[in-house]
Subunit: 602 residues, 2 copies
């Protein structure tokens, strides 16, 4: 059994030492509540809940949900854990005080989500999906809708879903067919079928609030004719009590590769009562507000897969004895040396660890931006809001796609460390791989994220996002004068320059042939990921040197951090070369083969 332990030392290193969240919290509304004591208390409590309540349900939850007579039964223990979660007010941690929330910074909720998601990703999806519904209602709902729906959602008494996908379309939401017809009472009758609805039906909460994309009669075709509706599972009476069952039901749950503890539902809307949210035909726009923040949530799965698989693999590598070290036996009295003596096993473990810790650094930086964005929203400063949104808009496709690809890789290393035992269910290592697979697919596949990064954020945005990021890196490289950091800084500077030149080359080629964008996109995203992660690793190394110099804290911890940064530069960052070499290629080798020549099987 894998037992998760929250890496609080690593989390606090980022929050306190690298990003100095205490200073940051003093600059944002609600931040004054996040005193050092309060933050410690919250992190400790989230750690205990994740370790003690959620982690033991991870492998047992793999048995999956049961579907019977339209009802979904979640795995044993999930409901009790959810009740505890609600009772402890975890769901409302960062929701506004005026709607009964605790108003704490978003970044704290992200740290909480990391621990919950690493201990038990499938369980974490239930409260996680509610956040999407909450954001949408909070930003676009009327005051009455907030009172009726937002507050119980924020309390966790109700849960929420996002109903976007239909059988014929996922990425291409312009093809949505679900209809919304106005009814006499000012509401709408929603008719259609949605698939892949996570948490669409379950037994954890009293009501489920679906946010549904649908078309009004005579709406324009494509993405410009889509509106957003609130459709509750149970209609809600004036006093907030639950009324009769709405005409929405779960038709089936999917049999899938992993995340078996999370219900993935076919949802049938048979003239279900819905309420328009936001302006008519602007549904997609509304949906995508705060999308960047939501995507931080998904990218956590990359970090989570790497961290949990590392935690599973390390004790095995320390215990299992196989063969001798090539540089001379390390345990001559034992039947064999442990796996830890083998350089390639170390390479796999350190790769997992470098992905987890590098990914965490990227996510906590994004979390800080989310705080600032929320603060700008609260203060009504649209231009500042847009600035942070742009910055996040550059980071989030990288976070989402690069980190989930690497998290998946890391989960596979965990299996590999176990050898044949990694393939056996009992150990839990293969479950992490199966669960991680979905992270590359949902909320926009890697390919879709890559097009967003290169096509929209970079080329359409005239590389402003790159320039902004490059300025930050430059500020860091300028102020980092320590001789020990010289090599890393030089590498980082060179890579940032190379990146800039690649941008020009790709833009030039794309101006001649638009297929260049798709051809380069995924390699470009991976390239951007490796280079940007190297910046975060350099920051962590520099901070660790500072801490070592100051003499406070655990010197061994800081030394290991520096050593891991060195590992990243020597054994992971060189991969960027291959991506660079491939991303600048002409699209010809991809496009010249005729569709009918992909296969010669009659």
């Amino acid at each position: 059994m894998i037992q998760y332990k929250a890496p609080l030392k690593d989390i606090k290193f980022l929050m306190n030492d690298v990003y100095q969240f205490q200073q940051h919290y003093q600059q944002i509304p609600g931040g004054e509540e996040a005193t050092p004591d309060m933050v410690d208390m919250i992190l400790d409590a989230a750690a205990s809940f994740s370790e003690e309540v959620l982690s033991p349900l991870y492998q047992t939850g793999d048995k999956g949900c049961r579907f019977e007579g339209g009802e979904v039964q979640t795995p044993a223990g999930f409901k009790q854990a959810y009740q505890l979660y609600v009772e402890n007010g975890w769901q409302s941690m960062s929701t506004p005080v005026e709607y009964g929330g605790q108003g704490l910074p978003m970044s704290l909720s992200i740290a909480k989500s990391e621990m919950i998601g690493t201990a038990n990703w499938p369980w974490g999806m239930y409260p996680g999906l509610s956040l999407g519904a909450m954001n949408t209602i909070f930003l676009h709902g009327s005051e009455a809708q907030k009172q009726t729906f937002f507050i119980p959602l924020s309390q966790g008494r109700w849960s929420g879903t996002m109903c976007l996908t239909e059988a014929q379309c996922g990425t291409d939401l312009g093809q949505v067919k679900t209809k919304a017809e106005p009814t006499a009472d000012g509401a709408y009758a929603i008719t259609g079928q949605k698939i892949f609805i996570s948490s669409g039906e379950h037994d954890l909460a009293d009501n489920i609030i679906h946010i549904v994309l649908a078309r009004l009669p005579d709406a324009p075709e494509g993405t410009k004719g889509i509106s957003l509706f609130i459709v509750p599972k149970f209609n809600v009476n004036e006093d907030g009590s639950l009324g009769e069952r709405n005409l929405v039901s779960c038709g089936a749950i999917e049999e899938k590769m992993g995340i078996h503890g999370s219900s993935t539902c076919v949802m049938n809307f048979d003239g279900a009562k819905g309420f328009l949210i936001g302006p008519e035909n602007k549904g997609l726009m509304c949906m995508f507000t705060f999308m960047n923040t939501a995507r931080i949530g998904t990218s956590i799965q990359g970090l989570a897969s790497a961290e949990l698989s590392f935690q599973g693999a390390l004790p095995y590598a320390k215990e299992r004895r196989s063969m001798r070290s090539l540089s001379g036996s390390k345990d001559p009295d034992q039947v064999a040396d442990t796996l830890m003596v083998h350089p390639d096993v170390r390479r796999m473990l350190l790769t997992q660890k470098a992905i987890a810790e590098g990914g965490r650094a990227m996510i906590y930086h994004a979390a800080r931006l989310a705080d600032l964005m929320m603060a700008a929203h609260t203060r009504g400063d649209q231009s500042l809001y847009d600035q942070y949104d742009d910055e996040l808009g550059f980071l989030t496709p990288i976070l989402k796609a690069f980190l989930t690809e690497l998290g998946y890789e890391a989960a596979n290393h965990g299996v590999q460390v176990y050898g044949g035992h990694g393939f056996i269910k009992e150990w839990g290592m293969e479950q992490i791989v199966r669960d991680a697979q979905i992270s590359k697919l949902y909320e926009g596949t890697t390919g879709v994220q890559a097009l967003d990064l290169l096509g929209r954020k970079m080329l359409l945005g005239k590389f402003k996002a790159y320039d902004h990021f490059a300025q930050q890196v430059k500020a860091f490289t300028r102020r980092t004068k320590r001789p020990e950091m010289k090599k890393m800084i030089r590498k980082l500077k060179r890579n940032m320059l190379a990146w800039k030149l690649y941008n020009y080359r790709i833009a030039f080629k794309a101006s001649k042939n638009r297929d260049m964008v798709g051809a380069a996109s995924v390699d470009y995203l991976m390239y951007a990921g490796y280079i940007s992660m190297s910046y975060y690793w350099a920051m962590m190394a520099e901070t660790a040197y500072q801490k070592l110099e100051s003499g406070d804290g655990d010197a061994e911890f800081y030394t290991a951090k520096i050593q891991l940064a060195e590992f990243y530069y020597k054994r992971i960052l060189p991969r960027a070369k291959a991506h660079a070499s491939m991303m600048v290629r002409d699209p010809k080798s991809l496009m010249q083969i005729k569709e009918e020549h992909f296969s010669f099987l009659d």
Copy 2:
């Protein structure tokens, strides 16, 4: 449902055009039987059997085996398919005529195994495992043992296993504890537990012949004290009929990530009657004879995963409509363009295809060597045998580890092409990933293969295997004068030279620090894989040009082959750069972190 179609055109392109098997068959004993007509008939029959009988059982077989009262029930249809396989004499295709076999070249059996394994890998493991037992008995058994055990195995009436792994050891077989005690009748009583025994128990054949590694009393410790035994499930009477049940039984079957149709058994030997095979204490040596040939079998799984996932993904990419081509809609009348217009989807499909076809070229080359090796064995020419064995010994770790790593990658691309649907069991795409995962683990993990390649075959072998391979490549590059091939040939020559220089660098570093071997090994293996695959792709391109020039055959097919070779050089081969850069690094970044500093969780 995925329906497999045997890519006979590709297989015949290799056999007839690239490797000219017809000429080759004239040089080996038994090859005269393999006339063009006979070969075509066999390939066609293997294709029908794989497509019609095995392919429909692939997804249904994922429900898995049932274990009850010590018996294993294979999935519905497996037994009937096996009966058909036996009736049609498939198992004895390449076994010697004097033991009732058909004596056809090994390479033909490999083509058969490819089709069977691609259609349904878990099913194919049952007859596949028998081959290991057959090889062992054929090479090391007494005449009586061959009569008693080899013949029914070769007929497929009985099946076989290899019982190596125990709970405490897989790779490190020196730790084997199973005991063999001489009994009064000249046999041995075998006692111990073996795990991960594929086909250890099932309902397909009348008897199961286990080849078991065990220790004689007072045997030296470690690998030098291991002997090999034949342990039948049912004892065999003098007349060859089945006697009473032997004291070997299946204690459980494993719950695993994939290959659910294949039974993976815990086998308990409780004083079971066994027969020594080969000399005392030389069990490991005997076991590893013909290991290179056996490993070709496992490497086929890499090709199989890539091919099947490609065949699953292509029709979906042609049918599914999502978004518009960035270079202008290709189907303006339709709701959206198909996935085929998107360069990144093409990149994934072509990567799958390049892996499958490049892998096939590598495997069929190895198959040709296996024929020659078998011929040398038949003719009693030990020095020629050793020469081919060395050549295969260089290729097989690359085939086994590089191809299975790439096959796994290809299977993941197949899921990715399907987007969210790839995660759903119904489509079968995720099953290919789960089934492919084991290929990186069994028969020596990627890490173990990489140590074998770099440590044993390269460094201990003083790079003779590289030199031999380089000579072959040089002969090819010298005779390839076609201007269209110029770029590829230049690239290939440069890479071969670079490889040579890397060999020196690594050898030099390893002479100073033995940990260099393990540190470089996996990157070295992947590097060697990408470069050597580029040689096979260049050969295929050259042959395709020749065929185009000659004007016979399907010009579109040859053109597509050349285009795919170009794709390989432009979009896959550059990965070698990253591996080169990492493999020459000092082991320091791997070794300097103290074991106790891998984690700071209390």
